[in-house]
Assembly symmetry: C2
Homo-oligomer: 395 residues x 2
């Protein structure tokens, strides 16, 4: 890993009963213990939480989205402001994605749209075309034309300055057939090589601030996922990210991840893109995933859903009338600011009254729960007792 | 003040050049140095700020509104939850108002509506009638009929359990003529006596948790304000609140307050209801006002306006493009979390991106600025240099 002198990934413990491992990932902005959850500060801001709130429950790493930031306020501005870390007041490890996911999901529609049968034809078409050169799209903010190429994605991520950055790929939709997915995979690999080349240009100029992740696409097709794994294994990436559609249900997701993990080299950190349910994380960890990200913990908080272990659906909804007079905290074993100070009855009142504070307090709680989950997972792996976590957290 | 064994108001210093004084008001939930600003936690919640955020910049006291809380979640529920302090996680001094202001301002329209010529005829009429008995109104939430009497207002405020509570009065509209205002004042005084009687029933049962403020009405008519002052002076109130319309501009407000303060006995704390501009506070302090409250500092924060000394309009608007690349904090002399960690450029980005965090950070700042202002005011009074505050804060 001589391309990454300021980074390191060390595996400290492995689970004898699964592919799970505890690791330590070093970046120029500090290290993180893995498995870790990466919180989504989409527009260089956690929604309804400050960096201090994140640190209070031991958050190790956050991410921001290149797509949003390239459009507002622009990566050049963030560079002039001293980079993403300084701009948003987070001095720990950060990741940015390539910008591709939003371009393609706004163009193709999301997997959820497809599964739920939502029609996307009536949307404004923001994705205009995908060529060998890159992806042409219109800004969702002002309609201006943009072209995101592999080189441009790396340049933007260099300007943003996150520690961990990701190659541009095409995210194929769930309904894509195998022929399309295979052609797309080949394109993504050519893009991946162009990203590496652009990344190396930075290295040649002595820019060692960042480490590049390669992405595995291949949809739900095992042989394509294997091909994707073999491609990234042989390229000088620092880590790997499993992306694209993982299928239509949890079973299929596990199968897709299993194939990917079986073929990936074990010495690099592996990120699973966009997954953050408690049970999904526990099974992903068992398959060897090192980091996860998902908007769900903080998004559901803003709708009044508080994460809770041993609960159907992994959450309770504070809007429900059953909490009206409940003097208990969200979770009596939780040490977060919300659980130390406020009752479910108060949180119910805040949501009934549409108070922003309700969103803030449950966001704080859900961040703490995710950090606690990952802490429990790491502890259990070290003890060889990952199934204990299942029993403690899942119904 | 034998009615208030757990309360005290002590004057520590007076300004030789004005009626300004520094005092200390003791309540069962701690004391506060006056002059003080009371932040509005309308529905038992500060908007976009936690109790910890309030404490971080030295907030001494907050208030909640009886009108909102009697409708949602109800004062009985809050009593069963252990009272307002416990419910909302604020263990310091608190005030509740009588509930009257919202009933009458929703019924009559506000002074701002009148001044700005807003038509209120097309609104749903929520105020149904005012009788000797009390005010009949419909809930803005579900249309249910409520009657707020002086006795009921005190009972509700007893259930809520704030330290400082206020008598029910009729808030006359700005356009009220002198005859109406005089009749209304007499009604408010009869209501004030009924409030005292109901309050004393609590004292008789050994409830010494609360202290009662009498209200001065009288509109813009000097002789009525004098009459109001003489009425409250002679009743066993703990403190006085100057309420009702204070006129149509700052000049008239100063005249109205001046008349009231000239006639009020000096040994009781005086609150000026609903006033919170920096220049208004400085002139109110000079007239002898001890506490102020206003939603403006936190409301304007949610619209991107940050308080700043020596600035036209007392604020800057972070939505404005001039802040797009500004690496400075809101105020370089401010020690709040926002100013220690974030640039104006970042705050501008947050508002352009409609991020809740922008509201949180400027709310934290504006709270800190108000606390700093009141600190500077108290310090200056002790030194006999209140005009220094004017020079340091106003344009």
């Amino acid at each position: 890993m001589s391309n990454y002198p300021r980074f390191n990934f060390r595996i400290d413990a492995t689970d004898p009963y699964s592919r799970a491992r505890v690791g330590f990932l070093t970046t120029p902005h500090g290290g993180l213990e893995t498995p870790a959850f990466i919180f989504c500060a989409t527009r260089a801001a956690m929604k309804a939480a400050t960096p201090a709130d994140l640190l209070a429950s031991g958050t190790q790493i956050i991410l921001s989205n290149t797509y949003h930031l390239m459009l507002q306020p622009g990566s050049e501005l963030i560079a002039r402001q001293g980079g993403l870390h300084k701009f948003c007041g987070w001095n720990g490890p950060m990741l940015t994605d390539s910008g591709g996911f939003q371009i393609f999901s706004l163009g193709h529609g999301s997997v959820a749209d497809e599964i739920k049968g939502r029609r996307t034809q009536n949307r404004v078409q923001t994705l205009l075309k995908i060529t060998e050169h890159g992806a042409e799209f219109r800004s969702y903010l002002d309609g201006r034309l943009h072209v995101l190429t592999p080189e441009r994605s790396i340049q933007i991520q260099r300007e943003l300055g996150a520690d961990l950055i990701v190659v541009l790929d095409e995210c194929t939709p769930f309904h894509a057939d195998k022929a399309y997915t295979a052609r797309s995979l080949a394109l993504s690999h050519r893009w991946g090589l162009r990203c590496l080349q652009e990344f190396n240009r930075g290295l040649d100029h002595g820019d060692e601030r960042q480490a590049l992740y390669g992405i595995l696409q291949g949809g739900i097709y095992p042989d394509l996922r294997r091909e994707a794994a073999e491609f990234v294994n042989n390229q000088p990436f620092f880590g790997h990210a499993v992306g694209g559609t993982l299928g239509g249900d949890k079973q299929q997701m596990q199968e897709v991840v299993e194939v990917a993990m079986r073929h990936l080299r074990p010495d690099r950190p592996v990120h699973l893109l966009g997954i953050g349910g408690i049970s999904d994380i526990i099974s992903g960890v068992a398959q060897g995933i090192d980091t996860f990200d998902c908007v769900a913990p903080t998004r559901m908080a803003r709708h009044g859903a508080a994460l809770l272990p041993k609960t159907p659906n992994e959450r309770i909804n504070l809007n429900n009338a059953c909490h009206r007079e409940d003097r208990n905290p969200l979770w009596d074993a939780c040490t977060c600011y919300c659980c130390r100070n406020f009752s479910r009855a108060y949180l119910h009142h805040l949501f009934k009254s549409h108070e922003i504070l309700g969103m803030q307090l449950i966001t704080i709680h859900n961040i703490a729960v995710m950090n606690r989950l990952m802490h429990d997972v790491r502890h259990a792996i070290r003890l060889g007792k990952l199934t204990d976590v299942k029993n403690q957290w899942l119904v």
